[in-house]
Amino acid sequence: MESDEEGIYDVESDASINYNSSDDGIYSEGENTAHGEANDFMDEPTSYKCLTSDQIFNYMMKVVDEVNAILQLPPHITCILLNHFKWDKEKLMERYYEGDQDKIFEEAQTINPFRLKGKVVSSNTNNITSFSMQSTKRPLTTQEVCDICYLPSQHMNGLQCGHFFCIDCWNEYLRIKIIDEGQGQKIACPANDCNILTDYETILSLLRGSDIKTKYHQRLTDGFVMSHHLMKWCPSPGCSVVVKVTTAGTRNVTCICGHAFCFHCLQPIHEPVRCPLLKKWLRKCNDDSETAHWISANTKECPKCRATIEKNGGCNHMICQNKSCKFDFCWICLSAWSPHGSSWYNCNRYDANDSVAARTAQEKSRAALNRYLFYCDRYMNHRQSLELEHKLYSKIKFKMEEMQQHNMSWIEVQFLKKAVDILCKCRNTLKYTYVFAFYLRSNNQATIFEANQKDLEMATERLSEYLERDVTTDELSNIKQKVQDKAKYCEGRCEALLRHVYEGYDMDLWEYLDE
């Protein structure tokens, strides 16, 4: 349906990594291709996958392994290095093999395991597993005092920088870093002035409690997900699922949590309007939708400086309070006040020449505002209706049970739920057609679009009426026919409208107003 790519992805594409080879790898058997009622919203159900935080961690580890096949480092060190290079494998390799390796380790805030090996071997011969960076435990015989809690402990742990703390303090420290500060890859050793980063192996061996481990998995993969332009976190609050698309063109996705969103801008699905226009619209709405009503009803603009003025007394001699303006004018005719006190008073006479200019300027701004309010009203109205339609689901469910008691099979009554799905989809599309229309300059195609919009709107309202009212009053066989026909029609109109808009995008038929 859509082949274009948003500009944002072009910026990232130079840093993109080709993970396609790993698509058939370990994590694909656990993939969750979303199947939900919102399937109609999606491009194609197979064009994306939902990965849980464990799966994403495994995926990340697979990338680490790929790099490690060449670098031959412990995986947790490679992970730190890769994260430092924002998961750009090529850049890491290039830097690693062309120059000062020690410097790379230093920059990435970790310790070169090859250097370490010699040191460890000489000092502690009975406890080496080939350059293990993992939490080095001190021999149990010595009881040491932890530098944080000042209590003696037998379980002292530390990174290879040699700073040791007791396991309780480590847990407390990590809890604050992971839960409170939301850190993952960038947690440094707790010692003062030590910037050596903790690695996932150490942390996972230290952490107690599965909740915090899950949280850590998420935070750990943050950088990985963010640097990968085909993966995004589901924006729904509390959801920790990553949606991974196969091509950058995929827009409409539904997470396994049920949240349907636009993969590009993370807003709820907003067909047919494009992300940049939607963003502009939402900003405009946030700026002024509520106040605009009030301003339009209660104020006029200063004819000179255009400051918005509220009349707070009966006197029509206005003095603009804008300090750099101070213009004296008449509230009624919006022209300068000076003639009003003299024999030149002609405020009562319609079409006084000097007031015309002021009026046209003001009318223009009023017209712009009215135009905005027109589209905003309709947008808001469909939004509100859409919220209310969700209540229909429970009502319909009740109705479906009732129908099943009247000799209809389960499969026969599914049409009702499907009709509500279609209704919601149409409402959502209608809502965003008003955003699209607001920015649209009128031409022949725009007229066709408006005709499509009208058709869809009328049909949708009828369907809504059937589902809300007639369904409880009409005869069962009758209502089934009516609802099914109307829903089918709505679906067709909705598709036609969208197809027309997308064709317009492809053929560059749409002209926009500079709002």
Binding site: D147, I148, C149, Y150, L151, H163, F165, C169, E172, Y173, I176, P190, A191, N192, D193, C194
Partner: protein, 156 residues
């Protein structure tokens, strides 16, 4: 809160009282063992020399995972300390490490008095003067020290 004071705080308090840092006095409040009355002597060869600066220090619930909260009570003319006495010091913010202590924090504050850093200012007007006319800035700092911080100092 006073009931369950972590051993770490007890130990630190004990050490602060038994082995005080030269030029620094830190006494826990009688009502609240997490609240300290601090006095720091202006370091030698600094515009704050001869002054005795009162500070308050509070150990939050998360201490030592979270940094102590420290504030100057005595007014001071310093580019990294604002007129409410708040201090711009990295170890009190993002560079805090649970391995640091009250003692090290107070030493760092004393060092900050010796070496003001107008490039990372908290009090912008002070920092500007400090950069544009250091002689006058130091003169002002000395005057303020005489005005606000000259009382009975800490015996070092």
């Amino acid at each position: 809160m006073a009931g369950r004071l972590p051993r770490r705080i007890l130990k630190e308090t004990e050490r602060l009282l038994n082995e005080p840092v030269p030029g620094i006095k830190a006494l826990p409040d009688e009502q609240n063992a997490r609240y300290f009355h601090v006095e720091v002597n202006g370091p030698k060869d600094s515009p704050f020399e001869g002054g005795c600066f009162k500070l308050e220090l509070f150990l939050p619930e998360d201490y030592p995972m979270a940094a102590p909260k420290v504030r100057f009570v005595t007014r001071i003319y310093h580019p990294n300390i604002d007129k409410l006495g708040r201090i711009c010091l990295d170890i009190l913010k993002d560079k805090w490490s649970p391995a640091l202590q009250i003692r090290t924090v107070l030493l760092s504050i004393q060092a900050l008095l010796s070496a003001p850093n107008p490039d990372d200012p908290l009090a912008n007007d002070v920092a500007e003067l400090w950069k544009s006319d250091e002689v006058r800035a130091i003169e002002t700092a000395k005057t303020w020290t005489r005005l606000y911080a000259f009382s009975e100092g800490v015996k070092s």
